[in-house]
């Protein structure tokens, strides 16, 4: 029994990390159709900020996360103002917003990554924090992984609640369904767009901060996380907060079970096979609207 608990829990926790990586991108894509391919780079920035604060100023990384969130929120407003506002305003169709934001995302990716290389060098970095195992019902987990998992679940539930029950959530959902219609009924996209974009980056930054406690970091770490995020949000259904969480958890559990019953070498094959099978059955993801 303890064995199964540990296996499934281990999968869920890794799945929570996958979801964590994806939440911010999901928000941006879901609301504005901005396919921000530089998502992983901002996650990397969050990781480096946390690492810096902890290593050179001795700040508790968890306590520092709000600062990371604020810093990246600010960066998000700036990036939106400089790049994406113009795209959102001048693109006649949603498909064009998607395509152009993809290209801008590439540019940002090169820019941010290279800047990180110049400032911090290419070396692996990391620190030990909350690495001590905690025993829960006979199974053992490290605190930092539990923190990442907890944040992913909490942030997802919070987003689901906000989107469902608050006025802002209604406005956001209205905008998802019809940008023009939303403006007609008086929703101010000029405020909402940058704020949501900033929130997306803030979430990416916090995810990075949490991951820096678990894994080592480098300026090149972003790209694989962007790929993970893309897979997770498509699997769950683009724009769906519940789908994002479910998609991440599903992948984590599939991998854990696959690793135990077959060979770990097959785990990538398995998770991609599950991803493809789900999309073939449900072409708009698990939580298609």
């Amino acid at each position: 029994m303890g064995f199964w608990l540990e296996l499934i829990a281990s999968g869920l926790i890794t799945g929570g990390i996958y979801a964590l990586v994806a939440i911010g991108l999901n928000l941006q894509y879901g609301l504005m159709r901005i396919m921000n391919i530089s998502h992983g780079e901002f996650l990397m920035l969050g990781a480096y900020l946390t690492w810096l604060a902890h290593t050179f100023a001795g700040v508790n990384p968890l306590a520092f996360l709000p600062v990371v969130a604020l810093a990246l929120f600010g960066a998000g407003l700036l990036v939106y103002r400089l790049c994406f506002r113009r795209i959102a305003r001048t693109s006649p169709a949603v498909e064009l917003i998607e395509a152009r934001s993809l290209l801008v995302g590439f540019g940002l990716m090169y820019l941010v990554q290279n800047a990180a290389y110049l400032v911090w060098g290419a070396d692996l970095r990391g620190y030990s924090f909350l690495a001590e195992p905690v025993e829960i019902m006979g199974a053992r987990f490290t605190g930092n992984r539990l923190a990442a998992f907890g944040f992913a679940v909490a942030a997802s539930l919070f987003l689901i609640a906000v989107l469902r029950w608050t006025l802002v959530g209604k406005a956001v959902r209205a905008m998802m369904q019809s940008p023009a219609g939303a403006q007609l009924v008086g929703i101010d996209t000029a405020v909402l767009h940058p704020v949501v974009f900033g929130a997306g980056l803030a979430l990416a930054g916090v995810a990075g901060g949490l991951l820096s406690m678990v894994y080592e970091i480098t300026p090149a770490m972003g790209e694989p996380y962007t790929v993970t995020a893309l897979i997770v949000i498509t699997l769950g259904g683009l724009g769906s907060a519940a789908g994002c969480l479910a998609g991440g958890l599903l992948l984590g559990v599939v991998e854990a079970l696959g690793m135990h019953f077959t060979s770990p070498s097959l785990k990538m094959l398995l998770s991609y096979a599950v991803f493809i099978a789900v999309l073939l059955a449900r072409p708009k993801g698990l939580f298609a609207r």
Binding site: A122, D123, Y215, P264, S265
Partner: protein, 393 residues
């Protein structure tokens, strides 16, 4: 640190340029290379390899220049980013050797990139001494211009087998990464264990980029092997260590391959590294020359080198320097000098046979406190081994 490195290159070039008109010397010796400064290879390349190139050029120029058959000439490094991409590696070396006709080249980082340069060094006739390329397959190409200065997989695994045998280890569980490196190491390990009578009771493989290995480690823990050996790359090395500790899997011997020798391994995992073993060649306690190398590296780059391949990268430059002093820049003669000579380096005497460094023995190192102590072979050891491994901290 990167900026410091950039400054380093600028000053090396500026120094070389400044000295030119004054002494009416000959043109500097131009040494070209491509190496990863961005992308997935960059972390390894910028820890193990390029800092050594820059430090070497600085030291040589500070000492008046490179001794080319008795005449001192300044050194100018011509280094480009290879973007962690095979095609860019090929294109850059075609430029350096085919178009720019630099005097000498230095190798790129990693087995894949070294493979990509193989036909080119033969075509243009440039000797290359590689510190971060391992594999019988590379040597199997029988390229007369290629020299591998790092210990080959079988040699490292034999050392590990001898070490474990000497401590009466009977069973082992092995995991390896699905890469040429993992496979070759495993082949070496399998043969060495068979000879020494150590049974492999579990073997699992996993793909690159894995983020969770806990289920595998739990399965292995249930089988209770004497030794656990991960033939891993840096990210997985960090991962297995953290997760073995997480589930309190504490075999008598815990070994992980690439990355254990990195200073960041100790810094990231903290006291948990105590007693973990891995691939390493030396540390500052190994010899006065090693101490001098570590001190110079810290002074120059404000960071420690790793305790395995970094020193080999430095040794490769020492071999090149000594060969150039002897026969000059005629590359055919240089190749022959490297192939037949014996060289004094930071890793000890180096001699090549069929392109392989046959003098540096396989080594097992182990973290004890803040140092990655050499624990095997006995005549190279800097500390007695901690065996069995103490409980995770």
């Amino acid at each position: 640190m990167s900026i410091a490195r950039f400054g380093g290159i600028l000053s090396a070039v500026a120094l070389a340029a400044a000295c030119l008109p004054a002494a009416a010397q000959e043109a500097p010796v131009r040494i070209g290379y491509a190496i990863a400064r961005t992308g997935p290879w960059a972390a390894g390349a910028q820890l193990t390899q390029e800092p050594n190139y820059i430090m070497w050029a600085d030291q040589v120029n500070a000492a008046g220049g490179l001794n080319v058959k008795g005449r001192k000439r300044k050194v100018e490094l011509v280094g480009f980013d290879d973007r962690s991409e095979a095609e860019t590696v090929v294109r850059t070396y075609e430029k350096l050797m085919g178009s720019d006709k630099v005097d000498l080249i230095l190798p790129p980082w990693g087995t894949g990139a070294n493979f990509a340069v193989m036909p080119l060094i033969q075509k243009y006739g440039y000797p290359m001494i590689a510190p971060t390329a391992t594999g019988r397959r590379l040597l199997g190409m029988k390229n007369p211009y290629f020299f591998a200065i790092l210990q080959q997989p079988d040699r490292m695994m034999e050392a590990l087998a001898e070490f474990l045998k000497a401590r009466r280890v009977e069973t082992a569980a092995v995991i390896h990464v699905d890469e040429l490196f993992g496979l070759e190491q495993y082949t070496g390990l399998e043969a060495a264990f068979k000879e020494k009578g150590i049974r492999i009771i579990e073997k699992k493989t996993y793909p690159l980029g894995v983020k969770d290995l806990k289920p595998v480690l739990n399965d292995i823990k249930a089988k209770n092997p004497d030794a656990f050996i991960a033939l891993s790359y840096p990210p997985d090395t960090f991962l297995v260590t953290a997760q073995a500790r997480e589930i309190a899997f504490n075999p008598k011997a815990f070994y992980a391959a690439v990355g254990t020798a990195f200073p960041i391994y100790r810094d990231k995992l903290g006291p948990a590294v105590e007693g973990v073993m891995g691939l390493g060649t030396l540390n500052p306690k190994s010899s006065p020359a090693a101490k001098a190398y570590f001190d110079a590296h810290v002074a120059k780059h404000n960071k420690e080198p790793d305790r395995w391949a970094s020193a080999h990268a430095w040794a490769a430059l020492q071999v090149l320097e000594q060969a150039v002093a002897k026969v000059g820049l005629d590359r055919k003669a240089l190749r022959d000098a490297i192939a037949t000579g014996e060289f004094d380096t930071v890793i000890g005497k180096v001699r090549f046979k069929d392109g392989e460094n046959v003098t540096t023995p396989g080594v097992v190192s182990q973290w004890q406190g803040r140092e990655f102590e050499v624990v095997w072979p006995p005549d190279k050891a800097t500390a007695p081994a901690l065996f069995p491994k103490p409980a995770w901290r």
